[in-house]
Symmetry: D3
Subunit: 310 residues, 6 copies
């Protein structure tokens, strides 16, 4: 049975189980402040780079889909913490300096070659962005709750990633920025689609997205971007709180927890009517569970409930 199967091996992400049913995923490139790397083999022109996008294998974010697909269905996992390794950052986002040397953001090395056809370049860029988005979205599609425990810098792609998580909490000194407008492109890996749905102040969302200014933990909490801020303990404190939260959630019925996440995600984008109906259809199967009785009995007998794996 697949029960205790290990997660897929990752070069850039640590995966541990600090508590039963609680997985801890660490973005693990601390010497570069967990910046997301994309490294190409040597290629000579802008056009060639574009053409190669679907083939290149060393993009750091390519490890996310197999990892979160595994966690999504792993019966040993009921809650997930996502944090950044090292003391300085959750992640500073895409490593732009690196990218400026050898990627689609870099200078056209051969000015004498004719400009590539605009439509064909656009096709390659679109496929690249679609694939990049799909990798990051794998966090959102994970059936288990994911809490982002953020500290230090959380810039650009860091925000894209954190808005895919269910719950965001952060250390007091954390600094955030929707940085993409500063590198000359609209934030294209998901922040612009998701931020208006998780933070209620339209004025604030447009302010931080259009000005690319950074903002701190206190402001993030005031507008509802994060739901908890540490007192002063830095990274350790926020990870500890994430563990506490994850432990609580992992102790509930996995049928109830995963159904709650799913129904919330569905309803978020749809009308109340469609949300209600989806809920009743979903629960028509999910109420046929021993967990319901186990939970009710536990409430009456005051004994800790035990739920079968899912």
């Amino acid at each position: 049975m697949a029960d205790h199967s290990a997660p897929p091996a990752c070069k850039y992400f640590n995966v541990t189980y600090p508590l039963p049913f609680v997985a801890h995923v660490e973005i693990n490139r601390p010497d570069k402040m967990n910046a997301f790397k994309e490294e190409y083999v040597r290629i000579s022109s802008f056009l060639d780079i574009c053409l190669s996008t679907v083939l290149t294998l060393d993009r750091m974010w390519h490890e996310l889909p197999p990892l979160f697909t595994h966690l999504s269905t792993s019966p040993s996992t009921r809650a997930i913490i996502l944090s950044g390794a090292g003391p300085k950052a959750f992640t500073t986002g895409l490593d732009v300096q690196e990218a400026s040397q050898n990627s689609i953001l870099g200078p056209n090395p051969d000015q004498s070659r004719p400009a590539p056809d605009g439509a064909r370049t656009a096709t390659r860029l679109r496929r690249h962005v679609d694939a990049f988005q799909a990798c990051i979205s794998s966090i959102e599609r994970c059936e288990k709750p994911v809490v982002a425990a953020i500290h230090g810098w959380c810039l650009g792609l860091g925000v894209d990633i954190s808005v895919c998580c269910d719950v965001r909490i952060c250390a007091r000194e954390t600094r955030f920025a929707v940085k993409e407008v500063d590198i000359g492109l609209a934030a294209d890996i998901g922040t612009l689609s998701r931020l208006p749905k998780v933070v209620r102040s339209g004025s604030w969302v447009k302010d931080v997205c259009l000005s690319a200014r950074d903002f701190g933990a206190e402001e993030a909490e005031k507008v509802g971007f994060v739901s908890w801020v540490g007192k002063n303990g830095g990274k350790e404190e926020v990870v500890k709180e994430a563990l506490r939260w994850a432990e609580v959630v992992a102790g509930k019925s996995p049928v109830a927890v995963q159904g709650t996440k799913e129904v919330l995600n569905w309803s978020w984008n749809r009308s109340v009517e469609d949300g209600l109906r989806y809920t009743s259809v979903w629960n028509s199967a999910m109420l046929q569970s021993e967990d319901t009785r186990e939970a009710v009995m536990s409430g009456i007998t005051k004994k800790k409930p035990r739920f079968a794996k899912l």
Copy 2:
């Protein structure tokens, strides 16, 4: 003409008119902290209980649709207060202990009978949840504004009900919880569909729904779940504020107030474009009213306006 017709008789809800045009509905089972009851005649198996759902008449929430349908069209009603009787609770939600003995949440009393067909059980459960949702939604569908004046405990079904109201205010000591994840099922009577639409801190919504932790009045106000919190006066203070608010609203043109509620509800779930168009079509009829002139004249002459019934 139906003008002064009485609301339908209710066993579990008090209805009074403390002010002209202001109806006060009280959830009225104070000895059980206003928990919602469902009581069946003696039945012997899980399957039978399911089969009987559409026939059973003693579900406390069955009284809501005729009551709120009446208020929705009663010309004597322009604003509605919803509160809980007794000093302890708005409502503690579904009476789970009761339900655990004789309902779909209870133990299967006859283990020797074969398990019922999963698809057939699912059909019955879905019909049950659909009907339950429809009863609670009758509060949202009411054409008149409803303000929930909340005190004490507001748990589970209490939250489902309060998110159907237009405005939520509460006493300082109020405690809320989206409790369903604790009884092993996704909150299925509307909270998961509506909460993300009335409180847009995504992180906070997922926190309280997935952890089932309780939260107080101050936190509820900070995230925008309630829009007013009492200073310290308990239930009396919050009901008094609700009466004050309802009196203000009942003094406005009922054409304008009911149109405002309707257009807000429509727009909430739809695009700005669809909202604007619905508004112009709605008002193409509603501007043909003496109320407009009455209100404008009142503003100029500083006399209190008087509006015909609606």
Copy 3:
């Protein structure tokens, strides 16, 4: 080339360029607290007034579409400030007293004539509201960011206008009100469609829309309606802050800024999936820009980037 072309001449709006690429639009009827005027030639009956709606040329809001359409595509404009002239108000909204004398809100001057056909009156009213909405919506459709710098009174139509802006900031003493319910009609020029999308405390939105009570700057900031409040400096302070913000935004790549506004506006009303796809298609063209390289190089060389016009 159209680059330095002047904006269309306006009677009720001042347009200046206090900083490079930053346009400042002032609502300019300070002696009437910037109330919006609609003045008709003498007409004798309610029916006639309705019939004339599409023909009348002296409505103050008719100047908005040509103005904001110009700014939307003017290469000299990268950010826009909208404020009210004079010390007292952003705008007190529609000039109801004026309107009560000679418009669709006024008394029927000839009671002896038969009431007009309800359906035909409705058609004319709908066309009037549709046209009115379209004028105000031209601010929202403007491709450049618009920051509303609000002071003094901001009532009724003032709120309709401010929710069309991207960012709202205000002076400390500002007072707002969704006033329409007081003149007997649902707020029909956009507040009801847009307010729930920019302030997601459902309870607060319904409170202020149904009660028409006014509220101040502090409350507006708490619920996220504005994202900055002045300390105590009144109008000058808020305009200064708006200029500072606009200057920052105008210094970014216009390709990135306008793309960010567009993608945010699109995503706001649609599902995450539709938002992500629109982003990737949009950026498939927009990444083919020198701005990306210019911005990246600027980050590395620490020199201020210079972007071509757009």
Copy 4:
């Protein structure tokens, strides 16, 4: 158990079970060509009639919701035929002549009374239309397939009703018309919302709706409005075919048949993505059925399958 419970008694509809699990509902007012009646107690003015709408009990369509709600959950019913009694018509729709004497369509009997307030009249008319639509929609909401067996005249409300059915078949001599534009109002009981979704020749839909011309069986089949036309046998032939079809459907697994109807109805109005997901959630419960095995075994053993009630 409720299994053999009788349908609610109806004055205007016959309900029989000509075959096991097949209900036959006949519109039963043959002497008036099955026209839909609404009969009021004597009332003296237009305003009064409007006010009385929610109170009046003798509207023929008021019998539809209890009838189709019963059939929707009756385990004895797996397919439903809807036809008109007598040789002349399915139904000629709303009895306009009757309505012209004593209803909202009739002349204002008292010209000397002041015209009622436009907004209040509109409210009453909207509630009337909403209630009328809800009655007719109860056919669409029925969980069991409904086949309309149409003959003779099928006018106005007859088309509204037939587009609520799943399958439409008709006798060769049948004549249809979307008649409402001829009585001065948009077809308001559902044809305009549903016809574009079941017949996707946009040009033809607009032709018949805007011109109110009648059309015959052959044309109805060509554009896909009906899916079967009798050869020449009149009403008997079409009812016989409906029985044959219903018998086939009633012989299938009710889990599969009702799921197919539900998933089709859901998908019709939504994106492919939302349709696929709803299908997988629905079937997650429905595949847990003995019917699947019964059906597969029947295919292999060539024995007629027998399915438990639902």
Copy 5:
């Protein structure tokens, strides 16, 4: 009053009133088979042409919005016929040969100049296409029914235009083609958005759009693209039929006809539920019309009804 006001003067469209309340619009460039012209002043580069798009005034389609906006609200107009002048064509679409010489489709005349910035070119192209679409969409937004009477060639832009009309009828010899795939671009003025909604066969729609093959009247009728085909009389016959149809529609209540068009257009893109509600709100005003009584009385007294203007 505006009643008999003339339509705006047009260079490329004839407007006549062959029957009371029936406007006949002819595309009028018969010597060029009614091809749509866009003529620029001499410009020297691809970049310059793009920049000038919003300024150029001699685009043939720029005449459509003022014309159809006029007809939309003109009380003298109740139905509109759209046809092509001359014997050869409805229209052969955009005059590509002309465009190839001096427009955005033409060759880049100056290969030595640097390629323009891709993002800036994209912005100009998008604004051009948006404006072009808006001109053609003015036909769809017209509140009065429009019947396209098509003969001869109907290519490219001709199909874009015809799918904006409510009803399409054609002469027997008509040839259609969705031609854009042949000039290297997706049909971008509306066919791809509207054709799937007016012709029900997905397979056929993709066939003709992807292959650009032409098709005749018989095939167009079979798939529901047109709802009437002439016997053999060519242009005269189809215009005569259009006149006959328009006369029928113009004889109905304009309140009912315009409401029917509006409600159909709204429902087409939305769910049945949203369609039903919009209908009831729309009709809450529209039923307050003398037309209803006039029409009912006419049905009873067999006299031709007379309706007031709208």
Copy 6:
């Protein structure tokens, strides 16, 4: 560069290139009438089978995603034909007999074991159906046009697959059936979500889905399910026609063809307004192509155009 890279090796699908840029995919299990196989390693219980779904590698449909993802971006491919190997069938769908022995459709081999928890079983079934749907949907997501050349039997999953194709053509003797209702489950791999969107005779769609009756080529063409039927030549004739069609499409600009498919697919599920905007954004990049000039010049010079790869 990846240009001539081979498609991934497939066990159950043949891939050839009979013409330049035209790929031919054959479902290749002719001895079993191309039925879709799923073969498991020996497992002993129903529960275990469910648990193993994500691990099992020998499902025939698992080959579709890598194959169609390759074709989607392969520059050597501009049009795709999908047909069935052998003389008898396109495909008879899921091999139910096989499935009845060792899959989720088979009998529960061990009646003495306790029934698994309903909620956990539902989770596994949902994941299974989601994954199955995703495999089939890879055909629809392919960026190149796919024409299904159908002959013989096309049952169950065969219909699911064919509705993912852009164009459907068939031999005269072809027989289709939406067979799933016969095996006791709603057609869950896409037919119910897609069929109403490609064949808009609502009555016919519900007839064939609810009765599971088979239908022939002539009927399929009449309702628009297929857009071409062979005269009498069987499989050879339909494949020949598919080749002819694919050759035509492959000769067009790939920028135009792929854009047309994409914009049609997007618009199909969305409003006209969203379709128009997506088109203009898409084309803002795609018009920046040499293909446009090449195509226009070709039209003028009458020489066959040559387009660069994409």
